[in-house]
Amino acid sequence: MAKVKKSAVAAKAGSGKGNGRDVQYDVEQFLYRQAELLDSKQWQPWIDLFADDGVYWMPPEPSYKTWDGQPAIFAEDKNLMTVRMKRVLHPDAWSQRPLWETNHVVSNVVVEKVLPNGDLHVRSRFHMMELRRDDVRHFAGAYRHELQKTSNGYRIKLQRVDMTNAQAAYDYVLQVWV
């Protein structure tokens, strides 16, 4: 992402019910869980992390301000996520047949904003190594999560994924979400 905003966590820490460390811990656990679900191919539980109107968005370049009405590498609501899931689970999804694994590492987790209702804006960095047949690829970049606080934990309203290699040519394609 082009600009990095100053962390709001220090200011907000302790001002809510829990203290800032609890929020940080909860958010990190949430992001790790999301990464784990991807790497273990638990597609439906991964989709369930999104709010009903949640969107997964990967812009083609960092200057984009909205997913709506513009080119996007991904701009998927839950219905489109379901298409993708059903597709990769179909026995005739040929590109899914070969060995294909990913490994995500999520780090640099910064709580940018804590809203009065407990919703959060969180940024982090990721690194994904992908194995496909004998080929290894690396993708890295920034996540920005807009999280809704619910009685069942956080749900994703918007996940923005800025790939550092977004503008580079893609050697083959992306199969599922990064």
């Binding site: 990967m58 590498i73 991904f74 379901t82 298409v83 179909h90 040929w94 040519a169």
Partner: protein, 441 residues
């Protein structure tokens, strides 16, 4: 030289089959670049990619790195991306603005947008009495031999002889007419984003797939079925009872079953160009379409409007480097990188004067089918890779194109597939016929 290494190339192509080396031999690839991609008209880009003076875009024509640039007088030039002094690449970025002139980063030679030498540091003292200077054309950036623009689409040929662009395009120019005519203002405008995806296969494998009407229901079944299931789910929940059109574009891969594809038709033209008629020419009756129709009728009149929207095209293939889906305003330019690597550059366009909703249809297809997260092309690319792997083996010598052979109808050099022969391999036969003609030299 290369010809001697590859004797009797004509024997590699028969009317219904082709030797596997045509796809896998690096020497044949080199010869193809010389005789095809660096001779014929190749798509460089759309003029709206470079709206301002000094704007440039790099583009690879065959093995040649080129620059498409807009000059101060509005004219578009295509130049070799190379300084004539010591051969330094002129523009290292993929796109940008050169300013009032090009300036080499090595010794500061400067050039006009049309490539002419503008200045050399201390030119008088450094070059007086030598053969180098403004009067020597070898001191200017070299230009593509020919550049032509058809309705905003810029092509270049690196050979000074050969047919004009319009003659070369022939009937395939309908790809651009169909796109532009559907715009109330008669023009399209680029959406400034290029998705670039590399295929691990020979460039011809992609082109042959573009009009292969047998493959969609096999290759894309998983996506078709998944989209159809979700489409039904949305329709059941929605009050109006319909899912967005984008779901239909995907589910058609499953709902249009394999037997139905024979109902379509391919038209095969000189120079290897082909058209697949078919289902993208759908005319929905939703409010967005009706609003668009109203604007179009006001602009063109009922009769001309009917002509425009009834052009029934799924795909136009402009051999050897461009695949156009005109009803969805998108195109894929093919840039062969090596015998087994092919870059596709994928663009889409806005119809000038059309409502936003019409653009969004094109956008949905662009994102879902043509982005690097494609729900559709992933399985094509998997097949292309497998094809290339298989053809690299000694398991067989030929690729065959025999489907519906002998049933095609030849009308003055235009080969039409017969009724109910839409899955004919006529387009592949046509492409290889053109290939053999080019390669004879």
């Amino acid at each position: 030289m290369l010809q001697e290494q590859i004797p009797d190339l004509a024997k590699y192509v028969e009317p219904d089959r082709v030797r596997r080396e045509v796809y896998t031999d690096p020497d044949i690839f080199e010869l193809e670049m010389q005789r095809i991609h660096e001779r014929v008209w190749i798509y460089c880009g759309h003029e709206t990619q470079i709206p301002k003076a000094g704007d440039y875009y790099t583009v690879q024509l065959g093995r040649q790195p080129m620059l498409m640039v807009r000059a101060s007088d509005g004219k578009i030039h295509v130049l070799y991306n190379r300084c004539p002094h010591r051969g330094n690449m002129m523009c290292g970025d993929r796109k940008g603005n050169a300013g009032d002139f090009f300036r080499c980063s090595y010794h500061a030679w400067t050039f006009q947008h049309d490539g002419r030498l503008r200045s050399i540091p201390m030119m008088e003292s450094g070059y007086a009495g030598t053969r180098f200077g403004k009067d020597n054309p070898d001191c200017s950036m070299k230009r593509a031999a020919r550049v032509e623009n058809y309705r905003g689409f810029v092509f270049a040929s690196l050979a000074s002889d050969g047919p004009s662009l319009q003659e070369f395009l022939g009937a395939s120019k309908v790809a651009f007419d169909d796109m532009c005519d559907r715009a109330p203002e008669g023009e399209v405008e680029i959406v400034p984003n290029c998705f670039r995806v590399i295929q691990h296969s020979n460039w011809k494998i992609f082109l042959e797939n573009q009009l292969d009407a047998l493959h969609p229901s096999v290759t894309h079944q998983s996506t078709g079925r998944a989209a159809h299931e979700v489409e039904k789910m949305i329709a059941a929940k929605a009050k109006k009872g319909e899912a967005p059109l984008s779901y239909h574009m995907l589910s058609a891969f499953a709902t249009v079953t394999i037997d139905k594809w024979d109902a379509f038709q391919t038209l095969n033209y000189p120079y290897g160009h082909c058209i697949l008629t078919g289902y993208m020419g759908l005319r929905p009756q939703d409010p967005d379409t009706l609003a668009y129709d109203k604007i179009m009728i006001a602009k063109y009149g009922q009769k001309r409007f009917e002509e425009i929207v009834n052009v029934n095209i799924h795909h136009v293939l402009i051999y050897p480097g461009l695949s156009v889906q005109s009803p969805l305003q998108q195109l894929r330019a093919v840039r062969p990188l090596s015998v087994d690597r092919t870059l596709t550059e994928i663009w889409h366009f806005r119809l000038k004067g059309a409502p936003e909703a019409i653009y969004r249809r094109s956008l949905a297809y662009y994102n879902l089918v043509n982005s690097p997260s494609t729900l559709v092309n992933a399985d094509d690319l998997e097949n292309f890779w497998k094809c290339h792997q298989g053809l690299s083996s000694n398991g067989g010598d030929w690729v065959t194109f025999g489907r519906h052979l002998g049933r095609d109808i030849d009308k003055n050099g235009v080969v039409e597939t017969a009724p109910n022969c839409g899955t004919s391999e006529a387009p592949m036969r046509n492409q290889m016929k053109a290939w053999a003609e080019y390669m004879r030299g």
